[in-house]
């Protein structure tokens, strides 16, 4: 099983780098071409969520992205925010989306989770194995 690890300062500008690396590794691992848009979007959403949590809590810790292949292509995005912030994710129903009272932050989190849940069949959000934080684990089949 091959692994690629990427750690980055929690800044929005680096999320694009994580997306590019994640897709490059997915392609090399043998993920079907038609799934790569979904891989790109899901990694971006998971990383953007981690960056938002680190900024919300004033954490300078790096966001970790770990990609591994075989038997599936698996991506883990690990943040270091307090656990109660990380696991309380919920998709928003459509009639809530344009609700005037909803903050932009709550809206983006809700939409982001809807995208993750919609695009990733194999998705887990769970406490990080080591210390404080949450792990978003996503997996896609390898077709080779």
């Amino acid at each position: 099983m091959a692994k690629v690890r990427l750690s980055f300062t929690p800044a929005p500008v680096h999320v694009r780098t994580a997306r590019l690396v994640g897709v490059a590794v997915a392609r090399r691992a043998g993920v079907a071409e038609e799934l790569l848009d979904e891989v790109r979007l899901a990694i971006g959403e998971a990383c953007a969520r981690a960056v938002a949590l680190h900024r919300q809590y004033g954490l300078a810790d790096l966001v970790l992205v770990e990609m591994s292949d075989g038997p599936a292509y698996t991506v883990r995005v690990i943040d270091r925010a307090p656990i109660e912030a990380g696991v309380g994710l919920a998709a928003l129903p459509p009639d809530e989306l344009a609700n005037e009272a909803l903050t932009d932050e709550a809206l983006t989190v809700g939409v982001g989770f809807a995208l993750l849940a919609g695009f990733v069949d194999d998705l887990q959000v769970r406490p990080a194995d080591d210390g404080i934080g949450t792990e978003v684990r996503m997996a896609w089949p390898i077709s080779r």
């Binding site: 500008v13 997306r19 959403e45 953007a48 960056v51 344009a98 809206l107 995208l115």
Partner: protein
């Protein structure tokens, strides 16, 4: 690809053509441009996503923010998009029920039944 923003007017409509990647890093620029347009008096806004390569939840949040802002001035916001990957994003988030989405600019303008002279 970097975000590109181009504004033009078609009759009573202000058309914002967006290109490149709209994500957690670039969405701020899109938000600023939309706020600038709406606060500057543009109340019939069409956002053309025809040249967008990537759109994430932050970008969607900006579009919803613009919709809310326009509602407070009785304005309208329509989207132009015919790319299946982007349309799928709107379907999955159920935002296709919130935004009028049209395949072309002409279709977006033709579908607007509000008074363009308002």
């Amino acid at each position: 690809m970097e975000l590109s923003l181009t504004t033009r007017s078609t009759g009573a409509y202000t058309v914002l053509e967006v290109g490149g990647e709209v994500d957690v890093y670039t969405a701020t620029r899109l938000r600023e441009r939309l706020v600038e347009l709406i606060d500057g008096g543009a109340h019939r806004v069409v956002v053309d996503l025809g040249r967008v390569d990537f759109l994430d939840s932050t970008g969607l949040g900006v579009l919803i923010g613009a919709l809310k802002r326009l509602r407070t001035v009785s304005g309208t916001l329509a989207l132009v998009c015919d790319k299946e990957p982007l349309l799928k994003i709107f379907r999955i988030t159920a935002l296709d029920q919130v935004f009028p989405i049209h395949p072309t600019l002409d279709a977006a303008i033709a579908a607007d039944t509000s008074d363009p002279g308002a």
